[in-house]
Symmetry: C2
Subunit: 349 residues, 2 copies
């Protein structure tokens, strides 16, 4: 029995998308239960023998500041969903709500694992090998030290080991060249630390990788600071959207090209499936004493279902224990810095 707590109010669409996704998820996973968190009147239409409504009176909107989410909306669906994990009522929480608020609440309610200064956001991206490259951090931490990058590498390895059959996934350090001497000082020191961790058996470190290696699939995991990761992710989304738009435009240019599009419909459909970002929805918030998954805010029913599926897989494959075991093993290298002033500043209540 795997139990997930779902923030049904979060995201751009709220219950209109989350509820149908929950129903489909329950139908596909006979051993799963869901705690549907939100305003009871908004969830009243839903009924399923393996689902239970957990009431929450407030909703964190996509525009709410972290401060509002933390201090003014203490009974938000997002917070109550995370609380279910803290209280042992659920093994993982899933939300499509605003990332900053989710990270801050998760960190405040669940706390970080010993040895981890900062939680990170990790998500798989499709690669040319037909597999996925897991990239972290994707935006939780704008300034990182080499210690943080090492922590990301250890946590990312635990994530990929839990979600795939790859017990020793390869780790690449995102840089602007493959040579050891490339990059800024933090990156160079991170390279040294990652090599030490590899020597100690904590990691399968490949070395430096460049931006193009993410989609090439050179390594299973790519580690970077949250600023760089966020820019890389969003730049990719922008490019994919532009290319998709160009392809649509070319095929709808005139009646002849429209007929051509019909003729090649199966080919285009198959292509579209392969590059469909929605399949990869569901980012893990790693480094917390509980599992939290973040869906894209604009997720549709299919995409939100993918995020539920990822949370379910993580819970069943003991991601939490794996992260903690790997962190414990790497402990001699994790010198635990003095904490994170930027995130700390938002946590006191």
């Amino acid at each position: 029995m795997t139990i997930l707590a779902v923030d049904c109010m979060g995201g751009d669409h709220g219950p209109r998308v989350t509820l149908p996704a929950c129903r489909r998820f329950l139908d596909a996973h006979p051993d799963a239960r869901l705690l549907l968190v939100g305003q009871p009147e908004a969830l009243a239409s839903f009924s399923h023998p393996r689902a239970k409504v957990v009431p929450a009176t407030e909703v964190v909107t996509m525009d709410d500041s972290v401060e509002t989410a933390m201090r003014r909306k203490k009974d938000s669906s997002m917070r109550v969903a995370i609380r279910q994990v803290k209280d042992g009522e659920a093994q993982a929480a899933v939300s499509a709500g605003n990332t900053g608020a989710l990270m801050a609440l998760a960190r405040y309610v669940l706390k970080t694992v010993d040895g981890i200064d900062r939680p990170a956001i990790a998500s798989p991206l499709p690669n040319a090998k037909g597999k996925a490259t897991t990239v972290l951090d994707l935006g939780a931490n704008v300034d990182c030290t080499e210690q943080h990058l090492l922590q990301f590498a250890v946590m990312g390895s635990a994530l990929v080991a839990a979600m795939t059959s790859e017990e020793q996934p390869t780790v690449g350090l995102l840089n602007i060249g493959e040579e050891i001497i490339k990059g800024n000082e933090v990156i160079k020191r991170a390279g040294e630390l990652l090599r030490s961790a590899a020597a100690a058996g904590d990691l399968n470190f490949h070395g430096n990788v460049e931006g193009n290696d993410i989609f090439k699939g050179t390594t299973d995991i790519v580690v970077c600071d949250g600023f760089v990761g966020n820019v890389a992710l969003k730049t990719s989304e922008g490019l994919a959207s532009m290319i998709g738009g160009f392809l649509r435009e070319e095929f709808s240019r005139n009646p002849l090209t429209k007929i051509a599009a019909l003729a090649v419909y199966p080919v285009l459909a198959s292509f579209k499936t392969r590059v469909d970002y929605r399949r990869y929805n569901g980012a893990a918030l790693l480094g917390l004493r509980g599992l939290v998954f973040k869906s894209h805010g604009s997720a549709d029913e299919f995409a939100f279902g993918q995020a539920l599926g990822r949370a379910y897989d993580a819970a069943r494959n003991n991601l939490l224990d794996r992260v903690q075991a790997r962190i414990a093993h790497a402990r001699p290298l994790l010198v635990g810095s003095a904490g994170d002033a930027q995130l700390e500043a938002i946590t006191p209540e």
Copy 2:
């Protein structure tokens, strides 16, 4: 009469690609002259009334360190080409050689413009509006202060104004959110400086932009540090290559899909032209007392020709004077930092 100095030995392919590109360029530009720089025996096959060989005995390889390029190969084709600009023999130099060496040599030979601490690499990328977004820095500077980002914004504005009809191009500051409070400390201070520059009439500052805005074409120019810019560029190259590969695979899956590909050939060809990265080849090295353009190392004849074309346009449109005039105008905001230890370290000879 516009004269370009071409490093004919640089890049992955050397004269095999550069010479045919030069011939085509000369045929298309009746008022242009070229100085073909390289080993005379490698260039002996070429003859054209508006081309002249300038001998250089050495070649900087793609793997040569900056130090080797600077100190051991003093008669390299790359250096001699830049020297032609310094000596007033040519208005711009073009090379497909290794970026680090080209930047270091250009900086050493030409020196930076007053008010500029660090030269930057700027290149146009296609956007969904059917125009181009100019991004800088793309990798010359791994650590940047807010002053550097301001300098990039001013130089990028001069570049776009020189190359397009847009006299007041819009500038976006690459960040992980649109709100002013987003980003790290350098980015926040850079935002303040850019707003001051806009108030003083030095810039048309749009505000923060995110990764997806590059390909959306939200602004004409996107400013970022060289680490982030390089990762964004290479991530895009990797994604474009993956998507192209998937499309090819789908259309060559079986005899039926191959026939389908033939049927839609004109549509696919038109699509391919629109996303063809080669059209955008030719990055400007900005902030030097002379014009230098960098071609992609793997450029083919068409792509190298595009880089020649960009250098030619820049020279004809007085890019150098425009950069200097804009820098002079923005001078009160450019407080000139103490110089760049990292680049300085490689320049003494």
